[in-house]
């Protein structure tokens, strides 16, 4: 039984990006440095009317516009000191300062990031999503014009992202060849219906929406408290925090590794690929269908995320260390999933770089990967925790110090075990010498304010009392 809650959110006050995935194929992320405070404020005031809210669309707009601020951006806008100091510590420090915690070391160290991210000049993230390229260029041009006109900001970098097109249709595939985008968490008040498997487990085994406060500030979270939020209350309410990470993908390395190990794995390359992630490349959950892809499951929203691991604690269907199982263990840790409910993140990623189909030569020096964005009320408790404890470490999943195969910062160590049976066609299989399939090229933490808060910031009326 799926229950949708009737909590009413003021969707006109919440930025649309925080409430829903737009499913537009094109995006451009404008990374801006703010100039003088007054000019920056007039720039923001001019943008305000165009910011996309969470209001329901009768007709999909051609483009959307959303905005978020890094700590140094709020400093530039001269928010009161008391307010700035009331932001959560990890946001104040920024993602670069937290690199030890996040294992952004070695290949992922800031020394290897795009220059724009290395020196903390990115103050503002502006996201333009578009249905088509012409509309995208048009909207971006107008924004840049406004920027010039007000002298409010300088464009540091425009990061393009785009759905991968297959057969001339935009898809939700990513560069390693997996269909992505399943399993975003349901929370109370979100417009769409609950999809089974996306919320939290109720005691009777059904799925419920998570507390709003896990994803929006100013609402009770899963622990029955209001999440740590900046003061004044009006600045925080209906806002959220976002992490942005540009993740370069080493497609050649991945394909070579899979080819090599797939040769010795009795189940074959595609099955091994499925075991890495916990979904077959077409999106079929391995937990539901461990031996083959199943289009009927993928197509059915009531089934494609509707599974638990409680009957598979040994990992015989979905390996214990598989990517989606690490990122969202559901009921795998016992206690009816209670240890998981405060560790969910809302993902909004989009690929960047040219797609190269399997079988064609691909060069890992090319710009190619995924712009990973995740939203949560507490970066520390949600994103950072999952990254540090479940992706870059495996103790909670009883995988010792082994890291997530797909995104872990392996640095030459770390293994992945595919659990099997005593059947020679489906044996236990260890994948070692894992290369870094993914490398971090930059990013930061951002605060995505409500429309009310944005108005306050833009008119310099933030008062911490």
């Amino acid at each position: 039984m799926i229950r949708t809650d009737n909590t009413k959110l003021d969707v006109s006050d919440i930025q649309g990006f925080a409430l829903k995935g737009y499913n537009f194929p094109h995006a451009r992320f404008l990374l801006l440095q703010l100039l003088h405070c007054k000019d920056a404020q007039s720039f923001l005031l001019k943008l305000l009317p165009d910011i996309t809210t969470g209001e329901r669309w009768d007709e999909k707009p051609l483009t959307t516009l959303n905005i978020a601020f890094a700590q140094q951006g709020l400093v530039k806008l001269e928010l009161p000191l008391a307010t700035l100091l009331s932001f959560p510590l990890e946001f104040q420090q920024g993602m670069k300062a937290r690199r030890e915690i996040l294992y952004d070391t070695g290949k992922n160290d800031p020394a290897n990031w795009d220059p724009v991210w290395q020196d903390e000049r990115v103050h503002v993230w502006l996201a333009v999503y578009a249905q088509g390229l012409l509309a995208l260029e048009d909207t971006c041009a107008r924004i840049l014009q406004t920027m010039d006109h007000t002298h409010g900001a300088k464009l540091l970098q425009a990061q393009d992202a785009c759905s991968i097109y297959l057969n001339n249709q935009p898809t939700s595939y990513e560069h390693f060849g997996y269909r992505d985008g399943f399993g975003n968490p349901d929370f109370k008040g979100a417009e769409r219906d609950c999809v089974p498997g996306q919320g939290k487990l109720a005691t009777d085994g059904s799925w419920e929406a998570l507390a709003t406060g896990e994803f929006l500030l100013g609402y009770a979270d899963e622990a029955g408290e209001l999440p740590v939020a900046p003061i004044p209350h009006l600045l925080a309410r209906n806002g959220t925090f976002m992490v942005y990470r540009k993740m370069h993908q080493n497609v050649a390395a991945f394909r070579n590794y899979l080819e090599d190990k797939g040769r010795s794995y009795p189940g074959g390359k595609e099955k091994l690929a499925a075991k890495f992630v916990g979904r077959w490349r077409d999106g079929t959950p391995v937990e539901l269908s461990p031996e083959r892809e199943d289009k009927s499951i993928v197509a059915d929203d009531n089934r494609n995320t509707n599974f638990i691991y409680g009957n598979d604690l040994g990992g015989l269907r979905c390996p214990i260390g598989a990517h989606i199982r690490r990122a969202n263990p559901r009921d795998a840790f016992g206690f009816n999933g209670q240890l998981i409910n405060r560790r969910r993140i809302m993902r909004r990623g989009l690929p960047y770089g040219q797609y190269v189909p399997d079988g064609q030569p691909v060069n890992d020096q090319d710009e190619r990967g995924i712009i990973f964005m995740a939203l949560n009320a507490s970066l520390f408790r949600q994103f950072e925790f999952v990254q540090q404890q479940w992706i870059e470490y495996g103790n909670d999943a009883h995988q010792g110090n082994d890291k997530d195969l797909l995104t872990g910062n392996h640095a030459g160590k770390s293994r992945f075990v595919v659990q099997g049976t005593a059947d020679a066609k489906n044996p236990a299989f260890i994948c070692a010498q894992l290369p870094n399939f993914v490398e971090l090229r930059g990013g930061d933490y951002f605060f995505m304010p409500s429309l009310t808060a944005l108005q306050m910031i833009a008119s310099g009326t933030v008062d911490p009392r």
Binding site: Y103, T105, N409, H410, K413
Partner: protein, 210 residues
């Protein structure tokens, strides 16, 4: 017995520290300095008392004031807390402390009131028992193996995983032969040192520091 869980003994010792106004540097400070220089790896004195799982030494300066309406009060002395978890019985452990780590034991407990020295092991055991607190509730997740067995098992786990991965896909007869060799090597491998190796931490860890 509340102090024990299976094979594991949970010992809690509370020793008053000598207060001597005449000293430039008081006993508590000297003790803390000494503890800060003590190694924590396999050269730790506790590695010599090898039945020790986990041990800690904590100086208790004072009790805590939790705020009104609770009353504020203070201890008249400072205390050294010794909390240790080991396999085996209490007397054996205490005697091992005196005989195998006597120098360390003296260096620590010489700062405590009424300490007789590790030289006389009967007196030492009696002193420790006088300072012993009864554990009200002791939880030990793993309580049925010795330290030695546990360290061996960790060594086995690592070696076996390497073996499995290295020989994946080979014909069964070959694996069988190699497995025999592996078993022999494992049996004759040197016993792993308790406490780990200090250099191991930086050499094999992909994080720059803990």
């Amino acid at each position: 017995m509340a102090n024990e869980s299976g094979q594991v003994y949970g010992l809690t010792i509370l020793s008053p520290i000598v207060e001597d106004q005449r000293l430039d540097i008081d006993h508590t400070t000297q003790l803390r300095w000494y503890l800060s220089t003590l190694p924590r790896d396999n050269t730790s004195p506790f590695a010599k008392v090898s039945s020790t799982y986990l041990a800690r030494l904590v100086v208790l300066d004072d009790v805590v004031f939790v705020g009104k309406p609770a009353c504020e009060e203070h201890l008249k002395s400072r205390y050294l807390i010794f909390e240790t978890n080991f396999d085996g019985d209490l007397d054996t452990y205490l005697r091992r402390m005196a005989s195998e780590a006597g120098e360390f034991v003296d260096a620590v407990w010489k700062h405590c009131v009424g300490y007789p020295g590790a030289g006389n092991s009967d007196a030492f055991v009696a002193y420790m028992k006088k300072c012993q607190l009864q554990t009200t509730f002791f939880f030990a997740d793993v309580n049925d193996r010795t330290v030695k067995d546990t360290l061996r098992a960790l060594q086995t786990q690592s070696a076996l995983t390497h073996f499995i991965e290295r020989n994946q896909g080979k014909p069964p007869a070959e694996i069988q032969k190699l497995f025999g060799v592996f078993l022999e090597r494992l049996k004759s491998a040197p016993a792993p040192l308790p406490g780990g190796r200090a250099d191991e931490k930086s050499a094999t860890e992909d994080r720059p520091h803990d």
